[in-house]
C-alpha cells in the first residue's frame, strides 16, 4: 500500500462560495499532517470531505490505495470531530458496541471492550454517554474513531477543552498510533502540539492552502512564525 491518502484538485463549493480550492495532497502511512489556519478557512470542510461525510464538488479523493467505493473509503477513515457523535442515552460501552456493529466488525463486544481498555474508560463503561465530562467524552470519541482500525485518522481540534494531563495523554496516544502505521490529519490551533506530532503542515486561508516548510515543525516558535507569514501572504494576495 503506497499511500494512505491522496487528493487531486479536491474542491468543495457551497453554491457560489468556494469553501476549498483545488487541493493536491498525498500522505504516506505513519505520517501526520497538521492543518492550520484562521477560523472559517475551510479546515473542518476539508476533514469532512476526507471522511466521506460530504461529497467533493470537483477533484478526486483516494483513501488507502485499494478502496474503490465511497463506502469502502469510509471504512478506512476514523473521524474525531468537534462533536463526539455519541448517543447520550446509551452507555459508553453501548456506544462503542454500536460503532463496532455499524462498521461490521467481528465479535463487536470484544472489540468494544478492547477499545474501552485502550482509552482506560472501563470505570465509566456503564455510564450514560450524556453524563460524561468533556475529557472523558473526548476519549470515548477517540476510542470510537479508532475502533475499526482505520488507516487514516482525522481529528478536528482534538485538544480543545482538555486539561493539561488529558492533552498530554492524547498526544502520546496519537504518536503511538502514528508509529503503528496510521496516517493522521490534525486540524488544530495548538501549535505546540502540532509541532510535536506532525511531519508536515499546511495553512488554509479562505479555502486556499499553503504548505509550510518541514523545518518549521522543529519547534513551536518556528511553526508560529512560518504560519503567520503564510497567512499574511495569502491574505494580501488577491
Amino acid at each position: 500500500m503506497s499511500f494512505a491518502l491522496r487528493t487531486q484538485g479536491l474542491e468543495k463549493r457551497f453554491g457560489p462560495l468556494v469553501a476549498l480550492h483545488a487541493l493536491d495532497l498525498e500522505l504516506a502511512p505513519g505520517s501526520a499532517l497538521a492543518v492550520l489556519g484562521p477560523n472559517g478557512a475551510g479546515k473542518s470542510t476539508l476533514l469532512r470531505l476526507l471522511a466521506g461525510l460530504a461529497r467533493p464538488s470537483a477533484g478526486t479523493l483516494e483513501v488507502a490505495a485499494q478502496a474503490r467505493t465511497r463506502a469502502a473509503q469510509r471504512r478506512a477513515v476514523g473521524l474525531v470531530g468537534h462533536a463526539t457523535f455519541l448517543t447520550p442515552t446509551l452507555t459508553t460501552r453501548e456506544n462503542l458496541l454500536l460503532a463496532a456493529r455499524l462498521y461490521g466488525l467481528d465479535s463487536p463486544a470484544e472489540r468494544a471492550a478492547r477499545a474501552l481498555a485502550a482509552e482506560e474508560l472501563e470505570a465509566v463503561a456503564e455510564r450514560r454517554a450524556g453524563a460524561l465530562s468533556r475529557g472523558l467524552a473526548q476519549r470515548a470519541a477517540i476510542a470510537r474513531a479508532l475502533l475499526h482500525d482505520p488507516k487514516l485518522v482525522l481529528l478536528d481540534e482534538p485538544w480543545t477543552g482538555l486539561d493539561a494531563r488529558a492533552a498530554a495523554r492524547l498526544s502520546q496516544r496519537l504518536l503511538a498510533e502514528k508509529r503503528a502505521g496510521r496516517a493522521l490529519v490534525v486540524v488544530t490551533h495548538d501549535l505546540a502540539r502540532a509541532a510535536g506530532l506532525a511531519d508536515r503542515a499546511l495553512v488554509l486561508v479562505r479555502g486556499r492552502a499553503a504548505w509550510l516548510d518541514a523545518a518549521a515543525l522543529h519547534d513551536t516558535a518556528a511553526l508560529e512564525a512560518a504560519a503567520a507569514r503564510a497567512v499574511a501572504r495569502m491574505e494580501s494576495e488577491r
Binding site: R13, G15, P16, L17, R55, R206
Partner: protein
C-alpha cells in the same frame, strides 16, 4: 446572455404567434349549444393541464439528472420548471371550478382528475417550500431532487388509488375522435401549442432569472471575500 436573449425573443415570438391565432380561433369558434359561451374557458383549461403535468415531469427529470451529474444547471432547470408548472396548475384549478359552477352547479367535486390535479398542486407547493426552507443551496438542490422523484412516482399510484376509491367520471371524458363539435378542433389544438409556447417562454425567462441570481451570489461572495 446573448444566447438567452435570442432564445427569449424566439420563444416570445412563437408565443405571440400562437396566442394570436388561438385567440382568433376561440373568438370564431361556435358557441356550444348546451353550455353557452362559458364553454370557451375550456380552451384555456385543457392546455393548462398540459403545462402543469409537463412542468412536474420536467422538474423530476432534471432533479434526477442533477443527482446523477451534479451540474447546477439541472437544478436551476428543476426549480424553474417547478415555478412555471405550479403557475399552470393554479390556472387549471381556477378555470376548472369556474366552468364547473356554470355547468354542473358546483365549484368542486372529488372526481378522479380533479383530485389528482389538486394533489399534484400540493406536491408542487411542498416542493417549493422545501426549496425555500432548506439552508444551503447545494443541500436544497439535493433534497428537492429527491422529493421531486418521490412525488413523480406517486402520480401514477394516485391514479389507481383514487380510481379505487371510486373518484370517477363526473369530469367530462377526454376529447376523443369526433367528440368535439365542428370548429372546436382548431382552438383546442392551437391551445395546446400556445400552452407549450407559453411554458417554453416562461421557462426561459425564469431560467434567465436563475442564472442572474447565481451570478449575483457569486459576485457577492467574491466581494465579501475581498473585504474580509
Amino acid at each position: 446572455m446573448k444566447r438567452n436573449t435570442k432564445l427569449l425573443r424566439a420563444t416570445a415570438g412563437c408565443l405571440a404567434a400562437c396566442a394570436g391565432l388561438w385567440a382568433f380561433f376561440i373568438w370564431r369558434a361556435p358557441i356550444d349549444s348546451m353550455q353557452g359561451p362559458l364553454q370557451k374557458i375550456l380552451y384555456v383549461h385543457v392546455p393548462c393541464v398540459l403545462g402543469a403535468y409537463l412542468g412536474f415531469a420536467l422538474t423530476a427529470a432534471s432533479g434526477a439528472l442533477y443527482l446523477w451529474r451534479r451540474d447546477e444547471r439541472f437544478d436551476r432547470l428543476s426549480a424553474a420548471s417547478a415555478e412555471v408548472g405550479v403557475l399552470f396548475c393554479t390556472l387549471v384549478l381556477l378555470t376548472g371550478p369556474i366552468w364547473a359552477k356554470g355547468t354542473w352547479g358546483r365549484w368542486w367535486t372529488w372526481d378522479l382528475r380533479l383530485t389528482l390535479t389538486l394533489l399534484l398542486y400540493l406536491v408542487y407547493v411542498s416542493y417549493l417550500l422545501l426549496r425555500s426552507f432548506t439552508e444551503g443551496s447545494e443541500r436544497a438542490a439535493r433534497f428537492a431532487a429527491v422529493y421531486a422523484i418521490a412525488g413523480l412516482t406517486v402520480i401514477p399510484l394516485n391514479y389507481f388509488a383514487i380510481d379505487l376509491a371510486g373518484g370517477r367520471t363526473v369530469h367530462p371524458e377526454n376529447l376523443g375522435r369526433g367528440s368535439l363539435g365542428a370548429g372546436m378542433g382548431a382552438p383546442f389544438a392551437l391551445g395546446m401549442l400556445t400552452a407549450f409556447a407559453a411554458f417554453a417562454h416562461l421557462l426561459v425567462r425564469r431560467l434567465e432569472v436563475g442564472a442572474l441570481r447565481a451570478a449575483l451570489d457569486r459576485a457577492e461572495a467574491e466581494a465579501m471575500r475581498r473585504e474580509a
